[in-house]
């Protein structure tokens, strides 16, 4: 269904403000933030984000009241070059407003959460000056993300796409001079760089897709592209396949799919709100949004759809296995995010766009909840550690305390009860336990996979779901149950309200989120139907049963291993012995990073060093230009001099040349040595030569 171009009543004209508000917020904070109190800075940013949320609600309302008719809101011209006509135009329809609501809604909550979290974080890391910077970046992120979801063309989307990449870079590298443990290090900035560059690889794919699109479909504007696509698909489906697959490269970069997912785990170096907002709830789902948005293209080429679905499924399973072997509380969640993104990508790949979007939304809720709760745990642990340091009765042997390491935790349900319950809700939602939000959305994906005949995908996802339940269970047991394995865990303190209240909101959403698209009601389906061609999925009781059983089995197995016999301090993971090498693989992320380094990164560094030092400098600059060109030049000029005067040079020259030249130059030297008679000889030589030429000609 195409957008109505006829202006309707409503609040559509407000669309640009979803971007303007955060921009105003960040500008204000940049310019006058220095004079505001810490709270002031935080609330200003949160207010900006909230204003954006309000506008999103108004826009959604407008779409709602307009029976789903969206509108393009033209702001200004951007690039008009020949056939290229790009404008800053905002697209308000059911799909984009969904994303806006998620982004600004979750975003606002996380802003508020960050007021508290960052207050403590900057103090722990001993650099309060960064507080303001954080909120500036956060607002910038909201602005970029809003551009991404509201752009009316692929290129405007791309602006947001790269913009969020930049914010991701800035926020991952927020503690750019320290590592996650607060030690002076390059680690965090390396992680940030890695994220940006990996994303750029994806963006390369996006760009190529864009070029193909423009020159074959004639536009970047969504409607125009979709309008032109069927005709092209009929004649040259290969081009549509190429477009969609190159786009998939972009998706893989942004949504952390195989093979470009490697940046996401490292991105956990950023402060926890960032992990929750950017690297779980919003930015990483941009790829899913992109494919959903491009549904008219993907549906034209089943081959591409299959590739997308397989990519998602493989990623989902692969990441889930890695999550099993992690100790860092955030890393587990990070791999879980990759895995869940795999679910979504698989869903949209299969054409189950609603399922994908549904999972996107619910995932945003519960994964944000989980991350923030994890943040709360970390803060609690840090508080505990801090407390120890202040009261002097701790065993500080100079060892570095890692508040993210689950091996340092244990039994925290007593010290941090609120967080524990919130975490539990998140876990259940993620594991897909009825009736939490995750259950419904995940189930819809599985059901669609089953029904659409993607059997392989279905089974892979199901296994991944099992693993999900298992590693979440493992996490719960390791963190909250058993005994504290570190003094800090024992002394952990519950987080303040400012942190827990947003969590509660998210927890509520995680519980109720499933209501968005309950089987039979299809609220979300109906809503999105205004924008993309979708069909309501049917609820398959068999699928639901299998997945629930798998999830429960996962939790149960985790209890068997981790719950029944809680881990002791210093004890290795109980899975390590039975699984052996397999577990080592999981623990070490299947050595993918190392592989990439060995195959690509180091090679690139070598290549560029080689080009720079050997080819460009030693060969081209020094050897060719200095020796060959300049050398020849000097050599030639020296012949001139040497034949006249410098005997040394003559000898050198003569040694290097043949006997004939040697004799010739030697005799020339005798002739031309400052003697007047030699000069006369030269004149006579000229005469003889000229006359000879004229006579014999």
């Amino acid at each position: 269904m195409l957008l109505s171009q006829i202006p309707t009543t409503g609040f559509f004209f407000l669309a640009p403000w979803i971007v303007f508000f955060p921009v105003i917020g960040l500008l204000l904070n940049m310019l006058i933030g220095g004079r505001l109190s810490e709270k002031g800075v935080g609330w200003l940013a949160s207010g900006a984000s909230f204003a954006s949320f309000v506008v999103s609600v108004l826009l959604a309302y407008s779409v709602w009241t307009g029976q789903g008719h969206g509108e393009s809101v033209y702001l200004s011209e951007w690039m008009h070059v020949g056939a290229l006509q790009l404008d800053w135009t905002f697209r308000v329809d059911s799909l984009s407003t969904t994303m806006m609501l998620v982004v600004s809604g979750v975003g606002t909550l996380i802003h508020i959460y960050a007021i508290g979290y960052m207050h403590e974080d900057v103090r722990f890391k001993n650099d309060p000056g960064r507080y303001r910077r954080f909120f500036v970046f956060l607002n910038l992120f909201i602005a970029a993300m809003m551009i991404l979801v509201s752009g009316d063309s692929y290129m405007m989307l791309f602006v947001g796409w790269e913009g969020v990449g930049l914010c991701s870079f800035l926020l991952i590298g927020f503690w750019y001079d320290k590592d996650t443990l607060g030690r002076s290090s390059w680690a965090n900035s390396d992680a940030a760089k890695k994220a940006f560059i990996t994303n750029r690889i994806g963006d390369f794919g996006f760009l190529i897709a864009g070029f193909l699109m423009f020159w074959n479909l004639g536009s970047f504007q969504f409607d125009q592209v979709f309008e032109a696509a069927p005709a092209l698909a009929a004649t040259q489906p290969g081009i549509i396949i190429a477009i969609t697959l190159f786009m998939l490269v972009g998706v893989a970069g942004k949504s952390a799919q195989i093979p470009l997912y490697v940046w996401l785990p490292d991105a956990m170096a950023g402060p926890t709100p960032v992990s929750a907002l950017i690297h779980a709830a919003t930015m990483v789902t941009a790829g899913v949004y992109l494919i959903t948005r491009s549904a008219p293209l993907y549906t034209l080429v089943p081959e591409a759809q299959f590739v997308v679905a397989m990519t998602g499924a493989v990623t989902a399973l692969f990441a889930a296995t890695i999550a099993v072997g992690q100790y860092d509380i955030k890393k587990v969640l990070a791999y879980s995010t990759i895995s869940q993104l795999g679910f979504m990508v698989a869903a949209v790949g299969m054409g189950a766009y609603v399922a994908g979007m549904f999972h996107l939304v619910t995932h945003a809720f519960f994964k944000a909840l989980l991350f923030l709760s994890a943040g709360s745990v970390i803060l609690g642990l840090e508080r505990g550690h801090h407390h120890l340091a202040h009261h002097g009765h701790h065993d500080d042997h100079g060892e570095v305390f890692d508040p993210n390491d689950m091996r340092n935790m244990g039994g925290m349900r007593k010290t941090m009860p609120v967080t524990f319950w919130l975490y539990m809700i998140g876990t259940l939602a993620l594991a897909g336990i009825f009736p939490f939000a995750g259950f419904w959305s995940k189930d819809e994906i599985l059901a669609d996979a089953f029904r659409e005949g993607y059997t392989t995908v279905y089974w892979m996802l199901s296994i991944a779901a099992f693993f999900t339940a298992f590693y979440m269970g493992r996490q719960i047991w390791m963190v909250f149950f058993g005994q504290a394995r570190h003094e800090a865990a024992a002394h952990a303190e519950e987080s303040p309200r400012i942190i827990t209240v947003p969590l509660m909101v998210l927890a509520a959403l995680s519980v109720l989120g499933g209501a968005l698209n309950l089987p039979g009601l299809h609220t979300l389906t109906d809503w999105l139907e205004h924008t993309i061609e979708v069909h309501a999925g049917e609820f398959l009781i068999s699928v639901a049963l299998i997945s629930t059983v798998l999830a429960l089995a996962g939790v149960f197995v985790s209890w068997l291993i981790y719950g029944r016999n809680p881990l002791k301090a210093g004890q290795p993971d109980p899975l390590k012995r039975p699984l052996g090498l397999l577990f080592t693989g999981m623990e070490n992320k299947w050595f993918v990073d190392e592989g990439y380094w060995a195959v690509f990164v180091d090679r690139y560094v070598d290549l560029s060093r080689f080009l720079a030092d050997v080819i460009d400098w030693r060969f081209w600059h020094d050897w060719f230009h200095e020796k060959v060109i300049a050398g020849t030049y000097n050599w030639v000029s020296n012949i001139g001099l040497n034949l006249y005067a410098d005997q040394r040079g003559i000898d050198a020259l003569a040694n290097g040349l043949g006997t004939l030249t040697q004799n010739l130059s030697a005799s020339m030297r005798k002739v031309q040595n400052g003697f007047v008679r030699s000069y006369a000889l030269s004149v006579l030589l000229g005469v003889v030569l000229i006359l000879g030429y004229l006579l014999l000609k």
């Binding site: 001099l641 006249y644 005067a645 040595n673 400052g674 003697f675 007047v676 008679r677």
Partner: protein
């Protein structure tokens, strides 16, 4: 009858000998004499041609050449004398400090 060519050939030979003198002798005075020989050879050619064409032009030119040669000699000898005063030598090979 002597062909005109013979005279020209003779003048060429004399000219070449004069040039050779410039090239092989080190004595500035003899070099100078060799130059005079060259001029002399040219004069011979002039007169020979003048004879062929039965012109006076050739002869008149020779007259001028002789006069100019005298002028050259005046300057040249003065120069040689001046140099001899400074260096006590008229070997041109010793005058090779300027080179390169």
């Amino acid at each position: 009858m002597v062909p005109q060519t013979y005279y020209i050939a003779l003048s060429a030979v004399l000219f070449t000998l004069g040039a050779l003198g410039v090239l092989v002798r080190r004595n500035a005075l003899i070099i100078f004499m060799s130059v005079e020989l060259m001029l002399n050879a040219a004069n011979l050619a002039f007169v020979a041609f003048a004879n062929t064409y039965q012109h006076l032009n050739g002869q008149i030119i020779v007259f001028f050449v002789i006069a100019v040669a005298a002028a050259e000699v005046a300057v040249g000898l003065a120069l040689i004398v001046a140099i001899f005063k400074t260096r006590q030598s008229i070997d041109v090979d010793t005058m090779s400090s300027l080179k390169g």
